[in-house]
């Protein structure tokens, strides 16, 4: 079991997630995180490292309750996976915003999350991006483990 998770992301991509949340405020934004996890590489060993290398912004399909819910269609997920494969990447997680709420997963988030994925949450307060956190659902689906976000000061590959 890994004691501590870490998600690496370039400064520009992290900023784009916050900006997406600001654009859709007061509604939630969402999108896919495309990147690499070293655990899937040949001869992987030891602790895995995970890096976001591209974003795939999506439209929040929850027209009934877009201020506090997000959902994407299965077709959106398929499109995100195709986009990832085109870049030689994988869908390693998802991001969404919490408008005027803290960047912590809700019970609803937990009930709809999958283990393994990284879930980035950006808090958007009065229309401005604030805290950004990342989480991984435990295998028993009962709780999350926080994932440290390492923002790297370089452009995306």
């Amino acid at each position: 079991m890994v004691d501590e998770f870490q998600l690496n992301i370039g400064y520009e991509l992290a900023e784009r997630i916050g900006n997406h949340g600001a654009e859709t405020f007061p509604h939630e934004c969402c999108g896919a995180l495309l990147g690499r996890d070293s655990a899937f590489e040949e001869n992987a060993g030891g602790a895995s490292s995970r890096e976001v290398l591209e974003l795939f912004p999506l439209v929040n399909r929850r027209d009934d309750s877009p201020r506090n819910r997000f959902a994407v269609t299965a077709e959106d997920v398929l499109e995100a996976e195709k986009a990832a494969r085109k870049h030689g990447l994988d869908v390693i997680g998802w991001y969404h915003s919490h408008p005027d709420h803290p960047a912590r997963p809700s019970q609803f988030d937990r009930e709809h999350a999958w283990p393994w994925y990284s879930y980035i949450i950006v808090s958007v307060l009065s229309g401005k991006p604030a805290d950004m956190t990342s989480w991984r659902l435990n295998d028993d689906r009962q709780d999350y483990t926080p994932e440290r976000i390492e923002i790297r000061n370089r452009a995306a590959v």
Binding site: R69, V72, V77, D90, V91, W94
Partner: protein, 95 residues
């Protein structure tokens, strides 16, 4: 019929880290059955105890949702691609 089954990232840990598998099947249900025969650990993540597909799991044959075809009885042909697609949702309200 030889079909390819695409395995989404969160389920690859139960499938020897593979992103896809080739199986021989006549229907989508048989393709998924063939996959879980190869990778037994996948079974409980795809199916409930009584053998139904889990509600947060969608299955596509090429670009079509099998729910709008003959579901797991949907026939497959050589070269078809079966995709296992996780449902993705969330949001800040708790209830």
């Amino acid at each position: 019929m030889a079909v390819k089954v695409i395995i989404p990232t969160p389920l690859r840990v139960y499938a020897a880290k593979k992103d896809s598998a080739e199986v021989s099947a006549q229907t989508v249900g048989e393709a998924l059955g063939g996959l879980t025969t190869q990778f037994a650990d996948l079974r409980k993540h795809l199916f409930t105890d009584d053998g139904k597909l889990r509600s947060f799991v969608n299955v596509y044959l090429n670009d079509e949702d099998i729910r709008y075809m003959a579901k797991e009885a949907t026939p497959v042909k050589d070269g078809d691609v079966v995709s296992i697609v996780p449902s993705i949702a969330g949001g800040c309200a708790s209830a």
